[in-house]
C-alpha cells in the first residue's frame, strides 16, 4: 500500500511544475575575473554575441533564436556530450554586459539548478577586464545529496566552466 502510494506520488510529482522550481537550501556563487591585454571593444564583440559561444572550449555548437534581444534563447551542445538551454535576461551593448539563465539542463551534464549568470566587460583600448558571476543551487533539490550533486560538486563544475572560458578568452586575444 505504502509502495503503491509512493509510485503514485512519484508519478504525480513528475507532472507538477513545482519540481522544476524546487531547489536546495543554499544558493551558491562563483565569481571570477580575468585581465586581457586587448581592447575592450574587441573582447566584447566576441563575448557579446549571445548566439555564438564558440569562444568557450567546452562548447561544440551554439544554436538559438532572437539574436541579442532579451528573451533570446540558445542551446549549447557540449563537446563532452549533452546540451544546455539558456535564455538571455539582460543585455546592454553600451555597458558591455549581459545576463542569462539556464532554462534546462540535465544535472548529469551540469549538476546545478536555478542557474543565473552575468558576464561584464570593462576596460580601455589596451586592457580589458572580463567578470563572470554565476548564482545557482546544487543539482539535488532535497537534503542529503549524493556527492556528485552536492553544493561542492556544483561549485566545482561551475568554477571549471567559468575559469575554462575566461582562460580561453585570454589565450584567444593574447595568443600563445
Amino acid at each position: 500500500m505504502v509502495r503503491m502510494l509512493a509510485y503514485f506520488l512519484v508519478a504525480l510529482a513528475a507532472l507538477l511544475p513545482a519540481a522544476a522550481n524546487a531547489h536546495g537550501p543554499s544558493r551558491q556563487k562563483v565569481v571570477s575575473k580575468i585581465e586581457i591585454n586587448a581592447p575592450a571593444d574587441k573582447v566584447w564583440a566576441v563575448i557579446g554575441n549571445f548566439q555564438d559561444m564558440s569562444w568557450h572550449p567546452a562548447v561544440a555548437k551554439t544554436e538559438g533564436t532572437g539574436g541579442n534581444d532579451v528573451g533570446a534563447t540558445r542551446t549549447l551542445t557540449l563537446k563532452s556530450g549533452g546540451a544546455i538551454n539558456e535564455k538571455l535576461t539582460k543585455y546592454s551593448a553600451a555597458e558591455r554586459g549581459m545576463g542569462y539563465e539556464i532554462t534546462d539542463v540535465d544535472v548529469k551534464v551540469l549538476p546545478v539548478t536555478n542557474y543565473a549568470a552575468q558576464i561584464n566587460v570593462s576596460g580601455t583600448a589596451e586592457k580589458t577586464i572580463v567578470e563572470w558571476r554565476a548564482a545557482f543551487y546544487r543539482g539535488f533539490v532535497n537534503n542529503d545529496p549524493p556527492p556528485e550533486l552536492s553544493d561542492e560538486a556544483a561549485v566545482k563544475a561551475v568554477t571549471d566552466i567559468v575559469q575554462g572560458g575566461l582562460g580561453a578568452l585570454k589565450k584567444k586575444f593574447e595568443g600563445g
Partner: protein, 334 residues
Amino acid sequence: MTVAGDTRIHSARLRAGQFVFLMLLCTPAANLAHAGEKATGSARTAYVTNQLGNSLSIVDLASGKQTDEISIGGKPAGIALSHDGARAYVAAPDGREVILVDTATKAVVARAAVGQGPLGIAVNPRTGIVYVADWYQHRLFALDPATLAIKATVETGQSPSGVAVTADGAIIFTADRDSNQLSIIDAATFKVTGTIPTGERPFGVTIDDTAGRIYTANVGSNSITVLDLKSRMRVRDVPVGLRPYAVARAGDRLFVTNQHDESLSVIDAVTLALVATIRVGGFPEGIEADPSGKAVWVACWDANTLEKVDVATLTVTVRVPVGNGPRAFGRFLH
C-alpha cells in the same frame, strides 16, 4: 523529477505517522510588557544572516558599519528578533538548526535541531514564541523562546517559506511556496484555519498594519499579491521585476526586492501603481522598513552588502559591506 518526488513521499509518510500535538499556546504573554514599547524613531541595528559566510553580521545603522560578524554555521538564512531586541533567532536550513544569539553579549546562547529545512522564522510580538517553517517537511514549528524546545507543530502547504505574525499576535501566515498559497494559522490553537491563493511561488510574506494588507512576493510569477488582512481576500496582483523575494512598506511606498534584476520595484501603497525601479546591489533579498518610514534596508546576496534606500529620494544612500551571501530573510532591524 524523481528527486522532487522523494520529498512528497517522505511528507506523505510522515503525515500518516506524525500527529500534531495540540498544545494550547495560550501563554499569558510573558513579554506583553514590551508590546507597544518599540521605538518609533529609527532602528539602530541590523542583524544580517550571511548564508555562504555561515555568519551573522551586526551592523550599526547610524555609522553604516558592520561592528561584529558572529560565526553561526549551517548556512543561516532566516532571521527574527524578540520584541525587545534582546534575542536574535537564526534559522540555518543546511545545519537544520535554529540558533539563539544574545544581542547584548553577541554570543550564541542556544542552538537546537529543528526539522529538516528550517528557513522562514518569526517571533510572536505578544508571547515571544518563535515560529519556524520547515521548507522540506511542510510544517510550522512553535518554539520556546528561551530553550528553543519544540512546543507544537502544524502542517502547512508545500515548502512554507516566509512567516509573518499580526501585531496583536493572534494570527500567523506562512507563504507556502510550492502550493501557491498562504496558510492562516490561529496562534492560540496552532491550527490552520484556512488558506488563500496567491501568485506563483510566494516566498516572502509581509503584514502591513497601516493598510490592513498582506503582501507576498511571488518568485514564479514575477509579481506581488496584495491581500486584505481582514477579509482575507486577494485584492490584486502587481507585476514587479524578476524573481521577487520580499516586500517592505515604508511611508506610502511598497519596496520589492527583485533578486535577478538587482533592483527594487517601488509601488504606491494606495493605488498599487508602479512608481519607480531602483538599481541596488546584485541579488537583493531580505528587506525591511525602518520604523521611521524614511528608509528601507536591503541585503544584497551577490554584492555582499546591506544597502539603505532613502524613501524620499529613492536612491541608495549607504552601502555597508557585510559577510558573504547576505539573505536576511525575515525581520532583521531593531
